[in-house]
């Protein structure tokens, strides 16, 4: 994790912030305080979070926790391969385990795996922890792992991670506790890949997903798709600590306002992913704490390079100059985000290239570039939708900037329903939204390789593809970093994907709920919070 601590920040300041938090100062007051000491707004968020954690206490056991996500439907599933909504992830994390997971610093930790070893990044040996049992009493064996991973390759399963799982050419059980994975090509990131939520380990042969039979911290008590799920503490959990809660209830309140109201009124303990606009409602409330994590989630403007007007030289660059990134972060995201520089590797990632500066907002320069591209004054449509976070507000910032640069953009809001299959990747200029991925390799192969399934701007570069394969197999960190830095530069300058900001996730929760920490895999501690938090009396 990149340390965001400003250089002149001292331990004394930390103490001051902590004291203020104890006093019950609102986030707004604290931010003011921080502003006074010259700390940038974006950095302020993470500092606060850290200070909040410092007021940590010893965990208490017991209690029933109620938490609300933002999306639920009858498509809710207990099948990790199909998991697509945040609620699915949270459920899977509570009921199942992965081989590995990422901690708050983005460092790979072992979960069901005891060790993962390789010499060439191609053949991997995974040894499982001993004595892990499923909720039905069955002991975890290597064949469960083999089955759980292999099913992603079966199209009938409809796995979301099929594309990533494809590289696992051979998955075999060596003995009861050892699994061997041979990759099609070397990939040093396999331990990180295995921490993806889709790669939860199931009992071999599971076919009924109306109940979850996992090794997780909670036993699935109730699962009603689109309504709620309830888990009770797994008494035989294999980890030394946790879970602390007796039971855990999770459901979704899709309406942001209703979700915030519910946490304010104390009906729920946690409201996940609240809208930046609601910050004022939760700020200054003693009984509410906010947990802010800035990961690699971003909403981007995609301009397809193989279609008009993206194919015209200068147009994409002009658009990059037209991004009023400050306005987006401060206006749309209300400061809950960080200005980005058109490439997907976030500052939370250890491979992030800090030398790559975002393009300034320069309508004049943009105008000149549009003139050059011969599109100046044309009413070019931009497709946007609620499906992508804040995309509509972004679109309006772009439109306003366009007016200054002599480009009357035409906003086309389309239904979020069906957006991903009908507009995303397809329209000449459209918005997309990408969730955090644990490694640059996944990001690049998913989004920027010439044959990437989600090549949002149809970026094609042989050099880039070569570098991607090269870096993947490298076990030398320094060399890898250098290659990834260059690739970031290439994406920022050549691709048609404009990433104006990394969006912070804000979870509002009752101050009684303790133990929340940020995680690069997403809000709610990478959706795994249920296992780690506790309720104070």
């Amino acid at each position: 994790m990149k340390d965001l601590k400003p250089t002149n920040w001292t331990g004394r300041d930390d103490a001051m912030v902590e004291a203020a938090i104890r006093r019950g100062a609102s986030r707004r007051e604290l931010l003011k305080m921080l502003m006074a000491s010259g700390v940038a707004l974006s950095a302020g968020g993470s500092l606060l979070l850290r200070a909040g954690q410092a007021v940590a206490q010893t965990p208490v056991t017991g209690g029933h926790l109620k938490a609300a996500g933002w999306s639920a439907s009858t498509a809710d599933t207990l099948d990790p391969a199909k998991a697509s909504l945040s609620t699915d992830y949270t459920r899977c994390c509570a009921f199942y385990n992965r081989l590995t997971f990422l901690d708050e610093g983005g460092v790979v930790k072992m979960e069901l795996a005891d060790t993962i070893e390789t010499t060439d990044a191609k053949t991997w040996q995974i040894i499982l922890k001993p004595g892990v049992t499923f909720h039905d009493g069955k002991t975890l064996t290597a064949s469960d792992v083999v089955w759980s991973l292999k099913r992603h390759l079966d199209p009938a399963v409809g796995s979301k991670a099929a594309a990533i799982a494809e590289q696992m050419a051979e998955i075999t059980a060596v003995d009861d506790r050892t699994v061997s994975i041979v990759l099609a090509a070397a990939n040093a990131d396999l331990p990180t890949i295995l921490s993806l939520h889709h790669f939860m380990i199931l009992a071999e042969g599971t076919s009924d997903f109306s109940k979850a039979n996992g090794t997780g911290a909670f036993v699935c008590e109730t699962f009603e798709p689109g309504v709620r799920s309830i888990g009770t503490r797994n008494p035989n959990y294999f980890k030394d600590s946790g879970p602390y809660l007796d039971s855990f209830e999770y459901f979704a309140i899709s309406d942001n306002n209703a979700r915030v109201n519910a946490v304010l009124s104390g009906d729920i303990h946690l409201a996940a992913a609240i809208n930046p606009r609601s910050m004022r409602m939760v700020e200054g409330q003693d009984h509410i704490t906010t947990s802010i994590s800035t990961g690699g989630n971003y909403t981007n403007l995609n301009i397809r390079l193989d279609m008009d007007p993206g194919s015209k030289a200068g147009f994409v660059e002009g658009m990059k100059y037209l991004m009023n990134r400050e306005a987006m972060v401060n206006g749309v995201l209300r400061g809950l985000g960080e200005v980005a520089n058109d490439q997907p590797v976030s500052p939370m990632d250890k491979y992030h290239n800090p030398n790559l500066k975002p393009r300034p907002y320069d309508p004049e320069q943009a105008k000149a570039l549009f003139e050059k591209a011969g599109v100046l004054g044309q009413a070019i449509p931009i497709v946007t939708s609620d499906a992508a976070n804040s995309a509509i507000d972004y679109a309006m910032v772009v439109q306003q900037a366009g007016n200054e640069a002599g480009m009357p953009f035409q906003i086309e809001r389309v239904p979020s329903d069906g957006y991903w299959s009908n507009y995303w990747l397809k329209a000449p200029i459209h918005f997309g939204n990408i969730n955090p991925r644990p490694t640059p390799d996944i990001l690049f192969s998913l989004l920027y390789a010439s044959d990437a399934p989600w090549n949002e701007s149809q970026y094609k570069s042989e050099k880039f593809d070569g570098m991607l394969v090269e870096a993947r197999g490298l076990l030398d960190e320094e060399k890898r970093k250098a290659i990834y830095w260059e690739m970031q530069e290439m994406v920022a300058n050549e691709a048609g994907t404009i990433i104006p900001a990394y969006i912070s996730n804000v979870d509002a929760h009752s101050s009684k709920m303790k133990g929340m920490r940020a995680n690069p895999l997403g809000g709610q501690m990478g959706y795994a919070f249920a296992e780690y938090v506790w309720l104070e009396a």
């Binding site: 498509a75 809710d76 009938a156 798709p225 689109g226 009124s265 009908n422 989600w454």
Partner: protein, 319 residues
């Protein structure tokens, strides 16, 4: 003998018409669903919907057969009481639906119990003392309520009662219901919001229907017999206004089954309306069809019930 025979024929006719209506609706819903872009597989895969993945999932879900064939087999199943399986999560539609329907009916039932007596009393009272302060107050209130968007009423209610006053829970579902009191508290808010919306219309229609019958010669006749106002209205006007009132009540109540989507959203109440919206967004045809059938059946049932009440309250039609 003859009388009962004709009654049965009438009932049979009505049922026949209702069945045909249902059939028409289910076909209409089917074609509408077919018109929607995307299918279950594409929607389920979302961002991961590569052509191969979609094709694979389609095969796996048995969506390869032509849609009309699947629809017809669903219809066939329906005749045997089988609502089919949800495409999306392979659960029986009946299971998915039963809990939601129970929720919806419970909410609708409570609202009906609260609303209908209140609305009828207010409507009749307003008509009885037409032009009085009560009438004016009622008409100002009803106009205000039907003029304000439902989501404003609901959101404001949450803010005032749950967040500021902390009297009632903000959610009606997901709170602990241990006692009757808890249950009352849990349902209070959606019931209040819905009651406002539903009863305003009922009050207005009741008032209009009663006033219309008050203006008839037989009510004037009652006046000329020396009847009190109460007797005139309750004894003479009301029995003849029952038909139109029942109709108005039925129309308002039919709203409670499918029209409560906003209240369900704001209070996070898992009812059938939300289920249908979900089903539509995932193109889950058996589920969409079943929900549509429920809306249609409840609408038809209420309308038919109203017709029956009108029929029974009118001796001329009763024969």
């Amino acid at each position: 003998m003859l009388r009962s025979a004709t009654t049965w024929i009438l009932v049979g006719q009505r049922l026949g018409i209702a069945l045909v209506t249902l059939l028409i609706v289910s076909f209409a819903v089917f074609f509408a669903t077919e018109l929607l872009p995307g299918d279950v597989a594409e929607i389920l895969l979302g961002q991961a919907a590569t052509p191969e993945a979609v094709a694979g999932l389609r095969t796996a879900m048995g969506l390869d057969e032509p849609a009309i064939w699947r629809f017809l087999s669903w219809l066939g199943g329906l005749t045997q009481g089988d609502l089919g399986m949800s495409y999306v999560n392979r659960m029986a539609v009946a299971d998915l639906l039963s809990g939601r329907l129970a929720n919806t009916l419970r909410l609708a039932g409570i609202v009906t119990l609260v609303c209908v007596p209140v609305a009828l009393c207010l409507g009749i009272a307003a008509a009885m003392w037409r032009g009085s302060w009560l009438d004016r107050l009622v008409s100002v209130l009803t106009i205000s309520v039907i003029s304000v968007p439902e989501f404003m009423v609901a959101t404001l209610a949450v803010l005032v009662f749950a967040v500021w006053l902390d009297w009632l829970p903000a959610l009606s579902f997901g709170v602990n219901v241990d006692s009757i009191g808890d249950m009352l508290r849990a349902y209070a808010m959606p019931v209040i919001s819905l009651s406002f919306v539903v009863s305003a219309q009922m009050i207005r229609m009741t008032r209009a229907a009663v006033i219309e019958t008050i203006n008839t010669p037989y009510v004037e006749m009652a006046l000329l017999k020396g009847a009190s106002r109460t007797r005139m209205v309750l004894g003479h006007a009301l029995p003849n206004a029952l038909g139109p009132i029942a109709n108005a009540v039925a129309l308002s109540l039919s709203y409670l089954v499918g029209g409560v989507i906003i209240v369900e959203t704001v209070f996070n109440y898992p009812g059938v309306a939300k289920l249908m919206v979900d089903a539509v967004s995932t193109r889950d045809l058996p589920l969409i069809q079943s929900c549509a059938m429920i809306f249609c059946i409840s609408y038809l049932a209420l309308i038919t019930l109203a017709d029956m009440i009108a029929l029974l309250s009118n001796p001329r039609l009763r024969r």
